[in-house]
Amino acid sequence: MKASSRRVALVVFGILGAGCGQGCGQGLDVGSDVIWSSRFEGDAGLSEWTKAWPKSWNGVDGGGMGGDPGTGVAAGSVSNKSASSMIAVSAAQGHTGSHEAQLQISMTDQQQINCSLTRTGITLPERAYYSAWYYLPQRYSVGPGGFWLIMKFRRRDGNGTQHELYDLGLKDAGTDMTLHLYNWDKGTNESSLDALNPQVPIGTWFQLEAYYCYAPECNSASDPAFSLWLDGAKILVIPSRTTEVTSWVAWEISNIGLSLTDPNKTPPTTSATVTLFADDAAISLKPVGRTGQLP
């Protein structure tokens, strides 16, 4: 090969190499089916949520309930606090990134304490997956008549009246906490869990993901109205509903408790401070799963 040809080869390879240096081997991000997400990172804080709702039983709250999108916590807020509850961006139990949400309620005698991050609005799609990661630092005992809810779905009927729809809670099973779902549509606890008394881990992040469809055709096992996964395993399917739903959906990451005690104290006291952490919340057109990635 002549010197001129070698020079041409060097030039061409130089150009190729320069082009390769700009992006050789990098993956191509071609879009997203994630409609909305909140990772509690950076400056976003809690502003990605429609509401951050510390509300005590005595009605001192940090924001209304059932309002329109945009009300509630101002953008950039990192905490909302009342006398008995608090929501804050924390760095105590990082899941992905360095921050997560800390939802904390301080139990008092026979008082229901609510603390929720709510995402609502009329723009949510007919069919979507609602995913969040949870971390329970310890086990709590649920006393007689009490409850501990960590995820809620609310609906509105055709008149615009708001109703509760699905409450996903935890029960004390002695040494573990198990999931249960109260179906307001039927007025009963769901007993059709595919896995009886699915346990959630203590001290380890776990993922809960729900599929919610408000389309009229979502009324069969093959096209259900509601499904639930724990750490990627489907544990519940609700094929249909009897009550009216609309496109209005409120999805909450909650820490709502009544009669919760700390089993580590002797004797157990109702003045326990109940804390859970949540991270990487998302609403997506496709399942997020344990390996899903968020923007």
């Binding site: 090969m1 002549k2 001129s4 040809s5 041409v8 080869a9 061409v12 390879f13 190729l16 082009g19 390769c20 700009q22 992006g23 050789c24 081997g25 990098q26 993956g27 191509l28 991000d29 071609v30 879009g31 997203s32 089916d33 994630v34 409609i35 995913s131 998302a282 997506s284 057109l285 496709k286 399942p287 997020v288 799963g289 390996t291 899903g292 990635q293 968020l294 923007p295």
Partner: protein
């Protein structure tokens, strides 16, 4: 086969290599005919020259055949002595010398038969005149034979030469068919001629190929067939040349694990071409490295985006240029490309949906122009 020594002795040896005796004799006959016409007009104006047959004095004939008298030629002296075939008073050439030369051209039995025929045609003559008469005219000499007469000029008065010329004339006059003609040598088996080397046409320094192309992705990536165009530049004159190629294609929709994408793949090649120049077809192969610009755009996500990057890989080409000797020709080629590490295609929330194709195969055809 021995060389025709008699004719060589006539002084035409230098022609024998490439001129047959027949051709030589024919040339002589033509020369003789023209000469006769000229002589006849020059020496016998008026009516056409009379063809005379002169009688050779028998005693001279006998006396005119001394051994070695005409250069020591091995003449059939007994026949010359016993035959009144050549007569005349010429001393240069001597009739015997002409007879000797004639014996190398015409078989003796032919001459005898000819003489017998003449004798039979003149039964009244007990001694038929000689069939040939040679007359020495000083700077010229005349030959009479078969009813024809010729005069030849020979200023040098070379008697041997005159004898040869006269013998040829006589041979053609009395029995042209019997002239000793050496049969053509049998065809010498010559080795099969090697196929002529192909005409060496200097390869052009720069060769540009432009054409239409089709490309198909293979493997586990998004499957699509795309159409486009390609350009290749071949640099070098030798059998191995540097090749730089590029192609651009129209984006085409494809699917990857439920994700619909609009995909485009534009390769850029740098390699070597080995070619074999033929008279009409110039086959070639190429191998080299390249970079491919890969473009992917999602079509069915809530938020569609696009991205492109460059993938390094290798390629191989096999093709042929038609009308190889022409400056402008056609080419057709097939190309395969291997991307060892195809780029990942990611979409949220799934993450890695898959990867771009690792293999591509295509074809190109078009015009090839040399400069």
């Amino acid at each position: 086969m021995p060389q025709p020594e008699p004719l060589r002795s006539l002084g035409y040896g230098r022609f024998l290599c490439d001129v047959r005796v027949v051709g030589l004799v024919t040339r002589f006959a033509l020369f003789a005919t023209l000469g006769a016409s000229f002589d006849a007009h020059a020496e016998a104006p008026g009516p056409a020259p009379e063809v005379r047959e002169l009688r050779a004095p028998r005693q001279e004939s006998t006396a005119a055949v001394p051994a070695g008298a005409s250069g020591g030629e091995a003449a059939p002296q007994s026949m010359a002595r016993s035959s009144p075939f050549i007569g005349g008073t010429s001393t240069c050439p001597l009739p015997a010398s002409v007879w000797t030369e004639l014996g190398t051209l015409v078989p003796t039995e032919r001459l005898v038969a000819y003489q017998a025929t003449r004798a039979a045609s003149s039964p009244m003559e007990s001694n038929p005149p000689p069939a040939v008469e040679i007359i020495d005219l000083g700077l010229k000499f005349r030959v009479l034979a078969g009813g024809r007469a010729r005069e030849y000029r020979d200023d040098a008065q070379d008697c041997t030469y005159r004898a040869r010329v006269a013998a040829v004339f006589v041979a053609l006059a009395v029995d042209p068919a019997a002239v000793l003609v050496e049969p053509p040598p049998p065809p010498v088996p010559t080795p099969a001629p090697a196929s002529p080397p192909p005409p060496v046409v200097p390869a052009r320094l720069v060769q540009v190929e432009i054409g239409v192309a089709v490309d198909r992705s293979l493997g586990t990536g998004p499957q699509a067939t795309q159409l486009g165009g390609g350009l290749r530049v071949i640099l070098g004159r030798g059998p191995v040349a540097l090749v730089v190629g590029a192609a651009a294609f129209l984006a085409k929709d494809a699917e990857l694990n439920g994700l619909r994408v609009n995909q485009r793949h534009d390769p850029l090649d740098l390699g070597l071409r080995a070619r074999w120049q033929g008279s009409f077809v110039e086959p070639y192969v190429e191998i080299g490295l390249g970079l491919a610009l890969i473009y992917e755009e999602a079509l069915n996500l809530d938020t569609n985006a696009s991205g492109q990057t460059v993938e390094p890989g290798g390629f191989a080409v096999i093709g042929a240029r038609l009308a190889a000797q022409s400056r402008v020709g056609f080419f057709v080629a097939g190309r395969v490309e291997w991307i060892p590490s195809p780029v990942q295609i990611r979409a949220l929330p799934t993450g890695v949906v898959g990867h771009a194709p690792a293999f591509w195969a295509g074809a190109t055809c078009g015009l090839s122009v040399g400069f």
